[in-house]
């Protein structure tokens, strides 16, 4: 059957199970938008392309499916860049479709032309410039396959307008054949056996789980392993929800703003079992003194992540779920961790997470109240900075895909559009964006998208009138010289109302819980403007470049 390139694209997206996509129209994607007019795909018109990319990302993180965004060429495409880079750093499968000028104009500095495959090369898992409508279905099939398998990541498909209009026979390739791409899923059996022996022989083991646990759906196997062996578990920011937040073996997050007990435990451990985590510098702190007594088992689907930052004793390349399932029955005898757990519990008792009660509203209190009001069942997205770290410390994530945050790139402005995407993917869930007054202003225009499309996400703005995390660094390391961190915001309540959303201002502690309850009862987007303690800090904190058991602070 003859079809235009644009029709082929729509057919392929349907075949890939795409029900919703996010984006913005423009001159050279009009053929696609024309076909979308009749297509059975929900299209969410964002107010900025960056938000479209983050929304596709939030959708992917919340559902485990591939998120899709669409933008025109040139500025439309370059506006996606931050969203694509964010997804790349956190291994999130998204497909970004960009329009391109006519093939015969490529390279001529045509109106709204940008070399988008060139620009996105270092921040995508792969990208394509489609030169012929006949190759489009194969490319889309490949793109979805590459984005969602192995270590997932974003894939860009750049589509010139004449290719969208070009006629071709529609052929759906059932099979994907790519000789240069074959991810390893099964771990090496001998290595898994070695890991089992090392676990049996350990005395102070610790499980260190990252985003890979969530991506591969290995949470049940991780819990089974921890419980079978009585090994305490710490997760990275990306791993939150990969292990039940309320579990007695859970130590919380580790690293720069991790709990003191998680950091002490990993530094004193004799065996680290790293699962789907990449020893990021925010986690390890000073590398040359990191976990000096530990043997390291590293399970990861990406061979390049192994021994990149720390030397690994037992590398196992493959899918975390498959490997943990294979490892479990090989452990015949649980290690004797009684004394170790006693020590860990002592650290937990002596060095708990805590905050003061004086003065204005404490942000930690707001997050605890959100946790209680939502009974831990909400999907939490975050912006970046103090709000993000408090959200990681003070909400208990029981299930995977309930904590959605820009980990690797640390993208301010991520949380709100990501919340829209998550809500589109999981309409039955409460979706809460925990924001700062600085971050929310980076994609605040999406209020319009939420209102128009009836996407009732709740936004808790922890408003301290500062770029809080940067101010905290200036307080601690730059002698309180608050250079450009005192930021003015609008009246968030009025602003929300002007878009047709709801706004609630909260200035007193006793108003916090009722405000959250009220927000939950409103079937609309709600901005909650929590006027919090201005100079509250995130503690504990490991100064950049220090060993992670050299924490400062600990209480407010």
């Amino acid at each position: 059957m003859k079809m235009t390139g644009a029709q082929v694209l729509i057919e392929c997206l349907k075949k890939e199970g795409v029900r919703v996509m996010f984006g913005y129209p423009g001159g050279v994607v009009l053929p696609i938008f024309d076909k979308l007019y009749d297509a059975d795909i929900k299209f969410i018109l964002t107010r900025h392309e960056q938000a479209a990319a983050h929304a596709a990302d939030g959708y992917a993180r919340a559902t485990g499916k591939v998120g899709v965004c669409l933008a025109t060429s040139g500025p439309g495409a370059t506006n996606l860049i931050t969203g694509i880079a964010t997804a790349f750093m956190d291994s999130i499968p998204i497909i970004a479709i960009t329009g391109q000028v006519k093939t015969n104009l490529i390279g001529s500095d045509a109106f709204q032309e940008a070399d988008i495959t060139g620009i996105t090369r270092p921040i995508t898992k792969h990208n394509y410039l489609v030169k012929d409508a006949g190759e489009l279905s194969t490319i889309i099939r490949e793109a979805f396959y590459v984005a969602s398998t192995g270590r997932p990541g974003p894939v860009v498909i750049d589509l010139p307008v004449d290719v969208q209009l070009g006629e071709t026979d529609f052929v759906w390739p059932e099979e994907v054949k790519m000789r240069g791409y074959s991810p390893t899923y099964e771990g090496h059996h001998g290595q898994i056996k070695k890991a089992a022996k090392a676990i049996e022989a350990s005395r102070k083991p610790i499980l260190y789980a990252g985003g890979g646990v969530i991506i591969s759906g290995a949470d049940k196997e991780l819990k089974a392993l921890a419980e079978k062996t009585n090994i305490p578990v710490t997760t990275t920011l990306m791993g939150m929800g990969g292990f039940p937040g309320g579990h007695k073996l859970f130590l919380g997050m580790l690293g720069m703003h991790g709990t003191a007990f998680a950091n002490h435990a990993i530094m004193e451990s004799d065996l680290i079992i790293a699962v789907g985590a990449r020893f990021d510098d925010r986690v390890t702190g000073r590398l040359d003194v990191f976990a000096p007594y530990a043997k390291i088992i590293h399970i990861d689907i990406d061979p390049a992540s192994i021994s990149k930052n720390v030397n690994v004793d037992i590398p196992i390349v493959g899918d975390a779920k498959t490997i943990l399932a294979g490892l479990l029955p090989l452990i015949k005898k649980a290690p004797d961790t009684a004394a170790w757990l006693k020590q860990v519990e002592k650290w937990r008792k002596d060095l708990p997470l805590k905050y003061g009660s004086s003065g204005k509203i404490k942000p930690q209190y707001v997050i605890e109240q959100i946790y209680e009001a939502t009974r831990g069942e909400a999907i939490i997205t975050t912006e970046v900075g103090q709000n993000q770290m408090w959200a990681a410390q003070w909400y208990k994530y029981e299930k995977p895909r309930t904590f959605i945050s820009s980990g690797g790139l640390g993208t301010m402005g991520f949380g709100f559009p990501a919340a829209m995407g998550a809500k589109m993917g999981c309409p039955d869930k409460i979706v809460f964006d925990i924001a700062g007054d600085g971050s929310i202003q980076m994609n605040i225009q999406e209020l319009a998208t939420c209102v128009c499309n009836k996407i009732p996400v709740k936004v808790a703005i922890l408003n301290n009138h500062y770029l809080g995390m940067v101010r905290q660094w200036q307080e601690l390391f730059y002698n309180r010289r608050y250079s450009q961190t005192c930021i003015t915001g609008p009246d968030f309540v009025k602003l929300a109302e002007s878009y047709g959303a709801a706004g609630i201002r909260v200035t007193k502690k006793e108003e916090v819980r009722p405000a959250i309850e009220k927000a939950l009862s409103i079937d609309n987007v709600v901005f909650m403007d929590f006027q919090i303690e201005e100079e509250e800090n995130v503690f504990p904190m490991v100064p950049a470049g220090e060993a992670i058991n050299r924490m400062i602070g600990g209480m407010a």
């Binding site: 060139g118 270092p122 898992k125 410039l129 790519m178 000789r179 240069g180 390049a304 021994s307």
Partner: protein, 157 residues
């Protein structure tokens, strides 16, 4: 230490940019890079010579290359028995009296005087790294006016 890495890639536009971009993004310097089609026109060989201070960096380079979708195989020739060659074209100072000396130098590798005109001769030479290095040192005494090199290509024995 210098390493020779041979990379079999899909013969598509943009692949060279992906490979070179990978090196530049990580701050690794490429000493030489030679690309050509193979017997199968759908794939190309890239022979890359890299300077890697330690094994860890070399491992990363190989692993990152392997991650690229268009890369089919990555082979490190350094510790394997291999033959490598490089082609040099040079314009050197020439006078009839130098002819014998020049021909003697060129006889140590596969080389010859292609052309001479006035006080300049164009020579070509093919050899392994060692031979080419020695030749260039010796030519230095005669006076080299211009020099172009292909970069190394290599094959396993």
């Amino acid at each position: 230490m210098r390493h020779i890495i041979s990379v079999l890639v899909e013969n598509k536009f943009g692949v060279l940019a992906r490979i070179s971009g990978l090196f530049s993004a990580r701050g690794y310097n490429i000493a030489s890079l030679a690309v050509s089609q193979t017997l199968d026109p759908a794939v190309s060989y890239m022979t890359i010579v890299v300077e890697a201070q330690d094994e860890k960096i070399l491992e990363q380079i190989k692993k990152q290359l392997n991650k690229l979708i268009d890369v089919i195989t990555v082979t490190d020739f350094t510790k394997k028995e291999h033959i490598d060659r490089e082609l040099v074209l040079a314009k050197v100072a020439y006078s009839p009296g130098d002819k014998i000396k020049l021909e003697h130098l060129l006889s140590k590798c596969v080389g010859k005087i292609i052309k001479h005109k006035g006080d300049t001769a164009i020579i070509e030479a093919v050899g392994d790294h060692q031979q080419i290095r020695q030749l260039l040192e010796a030519l230095g005494d005669l006076g080299v006016k211009e020099l172009v090199r292909t970069g190394r290509i290599a094959t396993l024995e």
